[in-house]
Amino acid sequence: MTLSVDIRKKLGKFTLDVRFETAGGILALLGASGSGKSMTLKCIAGIETPDEGRIELDGLTLFDSEKRVNLPTRERKVGYLFQHYALFPNMTALENVMAAVSGSKAEKRRIAEERLKSMYLLDSKDKYPAQISGGQQQRVALARMLVREPNIIMLDEPLSALDSYLKWQLEMELVDIFRGFDKPVVYVTHNRNEVYRVSDDVCVLENGASEPVVSTHELFLAPRTLAAALISGCKNFSRARRTGPRSVFAVDWGVELVTEAPVPGDVQYLGVRSHAIKAVGAELNRAGKPADAASGDPGNRGAANAPLPATNVLSCRVGKVVREMFSVIAMVRPEESEPASDFARIRVKMINDKWAALGEPVPPGRIHIRIDPAEILLLK
């Protein structure tokens, strides 16, 4: 079972240009709102027609602009779970599922009831969508979708309209269903945590253009582009220039950083997640920044009494301080940074106690931060 998509569609100023392939498992389409995720699903389902390109599912051509193939939606055998489930409000749960079955009325009823039973919905079969809970609505919509035995399941932000409590429960139910489905699942979302928990592979969409499909692991632990790193939740970036096999100059921060990974020649940016940045004390002044890079062993990090690690220490001025319930987020600016640079702000997050130990510096107080060499993302 393979889904391959290669389509282009122009909509006013917005251009959709999406290319990806999936051979089963759960593929997440991740992107901000307006990035073309839903439009892509609608093109696969045949609700929208691309201007050009091809869509193939399991050897069957659903759409091909050159061969002038454009199968109508109802012949595509796609399962589509809409954002708000799109259950027919004037039909009961059973009637909703029956609408997706063909055959004699008795046969429809038997098949639909069987499906509802397998999803623990038999008790609510005669209730209208408005009379059942959000979780039950989702299950009815899934039952209606699965009863047609589709060749693919597509979900359009299925959890975005729910409150967080229900979300967890439904997400787990969804994953259970996906695992029992041996055909491709395409899952559209703007929530990277959901992607991390749910999907096997990810295709990032930005302004209508798709990036190459990568495994979820790769996206979050080793993103390769600035856009991918941004969408994976990384918040601190600098333009970067290679200075050695394992060292890189952070242009916006005005400092050379040592990395654990070898630096590719065409590196353009570097990114560091907030959790990889540790404050190392306000008292250390720049003159005291020792030069022996050998002691920059990552094993030292976090040890309170250990000598300060020497490498990758930046002296910064505190900008804005945001207090949360158990932690403090400080926006700091490296002293060597380019003043006009947007990238020059670094976000440091620490627990309240640590902030207190630093003497709660107020802007523009000075603190030192250390960037873990193992956690520097080298990006294109």
């Binding site: 909509l11 006013g12 709102s33 307006g34 839903s38 609608k42 389902a45 045949g46 609700i47 929208e48 109508p72 939606t73 109802r74 595509r76 796609v78 399962g79 589509y80 809409f82 954002q83 708000h84 489930y85 799109a86 259950l87 027919f88 409000p89 004037n90 039909m91 609408a99 997706a100 063909s102 209208y128 969508p129 408005a130 009379q131 059942i132 959000g134 609505q137 209606r144 979708m145 047609r148 309209a161």
Partner: protein, 242 residues
């Protein structure tokens, strides 16, 4: 004979409402699908609602009268519209049609497209989607349009008197009978027709409100449960598919 205006009025209103209902639904469905010239077509179809009824009647007379575009054709088939009941029905239909058309169009346009798409992905035919998904969902809007259409057709005066005249027992509906009664100084008769018209109109509105409240309740409950909430990223105008 005395009560013929009641029968004529009801006959005219029922016929006009039936024609407006079928045409209104059909045309509204087509207009929603239009990509270009939508506002122009919409404007033309709404015109009879905003023009003075006498102007509508005048145009009808030009069209159906002697030397008129349709008048000659109908005359060749030995059918006459002017000063007949058919004329009264045509006048009432033309004047009341925009109410049905606009109500139906509004209901179709507000209808959640995802329900239609969902119907297609689960393999329902377009006919089935229309009758089993769209129509039930648009019922409140369509019913209120239907009642307004009926009320307007029942009370039609200006266009009717232009096209069908005011012939007692033939084309004199209740509205025309009131006019004649007042014109001839017969106040009692006028009061009687006014009372009857008010009774019929009020009953209609009352029934509609009961019905609309019942339907709206179930639709609202559905919306509250999150099935009719519109997507903020909904499609641009041109992509309307209904």
């Amino acid at each position: 004979m005395v009560f013929s205006p009641i029968l004529l009025s009801i006959e005219v209103a029922v016929c006009a409402t039936s024609v407006s209902f079928v045409l209104g639904l059909f045309i509204a469905k087509q207009v929603v699908k239009l990509r270009r010239l939508k506002s122009l077509v919409d404007g033309i179809l709404t015109l009879p609602l905003v023009l003075p009824p006498t102007v509508v009647g005048f145009f009808l007379l030009l069209t159906f009268g002697r030397n008129g575009l349709l008048g000659d054709m109908l005359a060749a088939m030995d059918v006459s519209v002017v000063f007949t009941l058919a004329g009264a029905i045509i006048a009432a239909t033309v004047v009341s049609f925009p109410l049905m058309y606009r109500s139906a169009r509004g209901a179709f346009e507000q209808f959640d497209r995802d329900l239609i798409y969902a119907g297609r992905t689960i393999g329902m035919s377009e006919t089935k989607i229309f009758w089993r998904v769209i129509m039930p969902g648009c019922k409140p809007g369509i019913i209120s349009g239907l009642v307004l259409t009926f009320a307007r057709a029942l009370g039609e005066f200006g266009a009717t008197i232009m096209l069908a005249g005011n012939i007692p027992g033939k084309t004199q509906t209740m509205s025309l009978a009131i006019y004649s009664a007042v014109a001839s100084g017969n106040r009692e008769k006028a009061y009687m027709w006014v009372a009857i018209i008010m009774l019929i109109s009020f009953t209609c509105m009352f029934l509609m409100n009961i019905f609309a409240a019942r339907t709206r309740k179930s639709v609202k409950a559905g919306a509250a449960a999150g099935s009719i909430i519109k997507d903020e990223k909904s499609l641009p105008e041109g992509t309307a598919i209904l």
